[in-house]
């Protein structure tokens, strides 16, 4: 495999292809006639996914830094370059994106009945944007992609969504834009500092890492960045856009939103927040605040989820809880926590994506999402029920599924640093059962007492083809996450080393100030 990939010099073009190919896909999608457009879109995205599969082999798991890097000057006077790269943190995010994108396009065959061409075009743009977010190693480029994902999602929710779609779409848009624009100011501040330090403006991630920042600056910038990412994740008080967006979005939109868009926030934490502002990120107050928010998110949203009457809203709230685990893992600031967070991200992407798919399929059959309306469906749709139960179990982190590995590692990591908070967070495990099982029960079990429910069809072949790989992945990762963990570890190590070094440097700096206050002449400067 590796030889084949080398032969076609895969590493040289794959990253660019993954971004630009979906965008180019707009042309055939807009060209195709209305009946065939969905197939065109699906196969196009499938090819993108297949191309991304090569990363598994082409990626060197021993290297912690960026791989397959390429940089082309873009806006030279601002120091902006079109530079891409991949490492262990982004590798799986990219693959998850290409995978979930093609899955959700496949899942929209029935759901999207009108205005198909624009829909699929937007989906492809969205895919390109998200892949770009994960691949960009230039903050400007990152920001562009980060924002770019908003527009297609806005239209996907707003045009193909439910009754309150406009409210949901605008809320989603404004909420996330608010955060990211403040981040933009932060980025510019960073660039301005870099210009003073290096002499030329630069947005390159690797250059910005070199910029020395004082503690206060770091805290402010951390705040700006963290707000953007926290809204995206979303972290507790910024989460209310999510249920609305999820409920109103069409199934494929929800899937993409849950599976990859939320990950952009946590990815940002790992990729930018920790390495760029290591002092602030390790500031006890900051860490505690983030952890407390994460824990509130876990418990609180689980509670809120439990009393939802709309199944989709329930799952939406659970997303917040899951992402709470990710934040918890990240701010454990150790190997277990970070890797656990990454696994939760992957697992959540797959399992919650699958849950939204299943609920979407249910909606296609019954045109309602009210839990009360269902009951006993397992009797008429056993395959459906089986898939749903497996997914639900993965979602609540039953051992043997992907969810467990992530949550376990995240909690394990967090426990090392913050015992009490982790203790509370662990209660989330109970709450997960508290929200998920009643829903499963009321939808799939209980008496089959409604005539409409009797007529529910079981999964079709296409739907099975969608769900089977997802379920297989949930279980496979649950039993053998090591190949994933192996590939992440060096990159996570790099982040952690950066944190450690920063603390040492800071101590050295403080030490200098304390020990040698008498040095007046500028010899040292």
């Amino acid at each position: 495999m590796t030889t084949l990939l080398d032969f076609v010099s895969y590493s040289d073009w794959v990253l660019h292809t993954l971004i630009w190919m979906p965008i180019l896909g707009i042309i055939p999608v807009l060209w195709a006639d209305e009946q065939r457009v969905k197939h065109v879109a699906f196969w196009w995205s499938a090819v993108v996914f297949i191309l991304s599969l090569g990363l598994w082999w082409a990626f060197d798991p021993t290297v912690g830094g960026m791989q397959m890097e390429s940089a082309t000057p873009w806006i030279e006077s601002w120091g902006v370059s079109y530079s891409l790269g991949i490492d262990g943190i982004s590798l799986f995010m990219v693959m998850l994106t290409t995978f979930m994108a093609s899955i959700s396009i496949l899942a929209s065959f029935n759901y999207i009945q009108d205005r198909q061409r624009p829909f699929y075009a937007l989906m492809l743009i969205l895919e390109a944007g998200v892949v770009g977010v994960f691949l960009a190693t230039d903050l400007f480029l990152f920001y562009v992609f980060f924002e770019l994902t908003l527009v297609p999602m806005y239209f996907i929710i707003g045009i193909w969504g439910g009754a309150r779609r406009i409210y949901a779409a605008i809320k989603f848009f404004l909420y996330t834009a608010l955060g990211s624009l403040l981040m933009l100011v932060g980025i510019l501040y960073l660039v301005y500092r870099a210009k003073m330090f290096i002499g030329a403006p630069t947005f390159a991630y690797s250059d910005l890492l070199q910029v020395p920042l004082s503690g206060t600056e770091q805290l402010w910038l951390f705040g700006a960045f963290a707000l953007a990412f926290s809204v995206k994740i979303p972290v507790f008080p910024f989460h209310t856009w999510l249920p609305d967006a999820h409920v109103e979005a069409p199934t494929p939109g929800s899937v993409i939103l849950a599976a990859v868009l939320l990950k952009m926030g946590t990815y940002g934490f790992m990729r930018f927040l920790l390495p760029l502002f290591p002092i602030a990120a390790q500031h006890p107050v900051v860490v505690t605040t983030m952890l407390v928010l994460a824990v509130i998110g876990i418990i609180y949203t689980a509670c809120v989820a439990a009393v939802q009457s709309d199944a989709k809203k329930l799952v939406a709230y659970t997303s917040v809880a899951h992402m709470g685990f990710v934040v918890l893992g990240i701010f454990a600031l150790n190997l277990n926590g970070l890797q656990g967070g990454l696994i939760v991200m992957i697992s959540h992407g797959i399992s919650t994506g699958a849950l939204f798919l299943l609920l979407g399929m249910l909606y296609e059959r019954r045109h309602t999402r009210e839990i009360q309306e269902f009951g006993g469906i397992a009797r008429v749709a056993p395959w459906f029920a089986t898939a749903f139960v497996i997914t639900a179990l993965a979602s609540i982190g039953v051992p043997g599924t992907s969810g467990f590995i992530g949550e376990f590692l995240a909690l394990l990591g967090a426990f090392e640093t913050h015992k009490v908070l982790t203790l509370v967070a662990t209660l989330g495990v109970i709450f997960a059962a508290y929200y998920m099982l009643p829903m499963v029960q009321r939808v799939f079990f209980n008496p089959l007492d409604k005539q409409e429910n009797r007529e529910i069809e079981d999964l079709s072949k296409r739907e099975l083809a969608i769900l089977a790989p997802l379920c297989a992945l949930m279980i496979w990762i649950g039993w053998n996450p090591t190949p994933l963990l192996d590939r992440m570890e060096p990159s996570v190590q790099v982040v952690l080393e950066r944190l450690d070094e920063a603390i040492l440097e800071d101590q050295a700096r403080v030490g200098d100030e304390v020990n040698e206050p008498q040095v007046v002449d500028g010899g040292q400067e």
């Binding site: 030279e76 006077s77 400007f140 404004l174 933009l184 510019l188 501040y189």
Partner: protein
């Protein structure tokens, strides 16, 4: 060619674009008066679409082409000395491009309107050309007298254009308001000029700058002068609280005039503002005086305009408030008063011209080239019945909102970079926060036209987009996207245009209020 104004003829060369514009304006007037009178008949759709309806418009475009050629030619000219009354620097030439572009786009989109509303084409286009010439005088001047006269040429032409549609009482009312307030603010501007003159004894900004930095000149007069000049310019660029005329005038004026003037007049105001303040009052001592004023002006303008825009129902009015908001963003650049900010302002004005005129062009198509269906609710279902126009309008709106992938985004970044150079972080934060507010009203149109289900079918089926307007739209969309994706060329161009402008007062680190 070297120009040192040792001979009077040099003035002709230096002012060649303006002269060409004035001459072609006069030609159009003459042709318009003597030319064959065209009866507007009802089966005009075809003629409307092709844009053949108005020969005078093409004539005006020809004149603009000539001016453009002259402007390009001026790049080969070398200026000797920096104190002459007429500046032949790249700053002026870049601004000229903006005015020419605005005029070209404005004329291209007004063909059908002029025809439908039976406006006097000759006078209409001539006034646009004269106003453009006025703007060019204004920004090309290093002497406050010329600035003032250019401003008056522009203003009087625009007053007339605003009230041009004699059948429309809104147009007349707008003209009156614009005229009264414009003249009123001119009084302040003039008084400011008088005080500057009294303080320094000169009306040449370069000389004023030198005198101020040498420490001469009465500070007490200067401080009042700066304030009065700020008021005068703030009125022209419609900064809050000198913005009151803007929404009314933009709503009342004929649509193509609104489109054109919202971009061009503002651009002229800003460019002159920048030159006067940076070159004339660029010294640190006096920068400290006007810096907080402009800081607050920018902040209030950004906040206020965006807030009011939220509650507008008329799209022209909403775009008017949006233009005020953009004035706020541009004021940030003037507040920053450094090289990057100045270049950013030029760049932003260029992009703004494209996107604003583009947006208005589509507004005009929707309103059937007259003054109807201007409410945001009239856009329900527009996107789906006219997909291409819908996409274009979406692009314009996203660009106005400053979204990545569009020129508006790059412009905003440039402004923010300029603000960063002067450490204007609070202002930057206000800028981005108000941008978020602005998303709401820009996206509102997007949601109305794409996401709402229309109650009546086919209300947008009879939209005509004449060939010239199509051309204008394609050019603007293409340029906006091009600049949004590959901005380097335009950026470099804007940056190079700033070189040698004069002293820069910006970069007073940490002098935030």
């Amino acid at each position: 060619m070297i120009i040192d104004f040792s001979r009077q003829l040099h003035y002709v060369w230096a002012l060649l674009p303006e002269i060409i514009l004035c001459v072609s304006g006069m030609v159009i007037l003459v042709v318009g008066v003597t030319g064959r009178y065209r009866e507007a008949h009802l089966a005009v759709e075809e003629e409307l679409e092709s844009g053949r309806s108005d020969d005078l418009g093409w004539l005006a475009l020809l004149g603009l082409l000539g001016a453009a050629l002259a402007n390009a030619w001026l790049y080969g000219v070398t200026e000797v000395g920096v104190n002459s009354m007429i500046a032949v620097d790249r700053f002026r030439l870049f601004s000229n491009w903006i005015f020419l572009l605005a005029a070209v786009l404005g004329i291209l989109i007004s063909f059908a309107y002029v025809y439908r509303q039976r406006l006097q084409a000759g006078e209409f286009y001539a006034l646009i050309l004269f106003a453009t010439a006025g703007m060019m005088f204004m920004v090309g001047a290093r002497d406050l007298i010329v600035v003032f006269l250019g401003l008056e040429v522009m203003s009087i032409a625009v007053y007339a254009l605003t009230a041009f549609n004699r059948r429309d009482r809104k147009s007349a009312e707008a003209g009156l308001k614009y005229f009264l307030l414009g003249a009123f603010s001119t009084g302040f501007l003039l008084y400011g000029i008088a005080l500057v003159y009294g303080a320094t004894g000169s009306t040449n900004v370069a000389v004023i700058g030198e005198i101020i930095s040498s420490g001469e000149g009465s500070r007490s007069l200067l401080s009042a002068a700066v304030a009065l000049l700020t008021i005068g310019f703030a009125f022209k660029v419609s900064a809050i609280p000198f913005h009151m005329w803007t929404p009314d005038v933009y709503e009342g004026a004929p649509a193509p005039v609104t489109a054109w003037m919202s971009a061009a007049v503002k651009a002229a105001g800003f460019v002159a503002f920048l030159r006067v303040f940076m070159v004339g009052f660029g010294d640190h001592s006096i920068y400290a005086l006007w810096y907080p004023i402009l800081w607050w002006l920018a902040a209030i303008t950004m906040v206020g305009a965006n807030l009011i825009a939220l509650v507008q129902t008329n799209i022209k009015r909403m775009l008017a408030y949006s233009s005020i908001a953009h004035a706020g963003y541009l004021l940030v650049a003037i507040t920053a008063a450094n090289e990057a900010a100045a270049a950013g302002m030029l760049f932003y004005l260029l992009v703004y011209t494209l996107m604003n005129i583009g947006a208005f062009a589509i507004v005009m198509s929707v309103s059937h080239h007259s003054e109807e269906r201007l409410y945001i609710d009239d856009y329900v279902g527009f996107g789906w019945s006219q997909p291409l126009l819908g996409v274009f309008l979406t692009v314009f709106l996203l660009s106005l909102a400053g979204f990545p992938g569009t020129g508006g985004f790059m412009g905003k970044i440039y402004l923010l970079l300029g603000a960063a150079e002067s450490d204007l972080w609070t202002l930057s934060v206000i800028l981005v926060l108000t941008t978020v507010v602005s998303y709401w009203y820009y996206l509102r149109i997007a949601w109305v036209m794409w996401m709402k289900d229309p109650e009546t079918e086919g209300q947008h089926d009879r939209i005509i987009v004449p060939l010239p307007m199509r051309f204008a739209l394609l050019v603007s969309v293409g340029l906006i996207l091009y600049i949004g994706i590959l901005p380097s060329g335009a950026l470099e161009f804007a940056r190079a245009s700033i070189e040698g402008l004069g002293t820069f007062g910006g970069g007073l680190i940490g002098q935030g209020p």
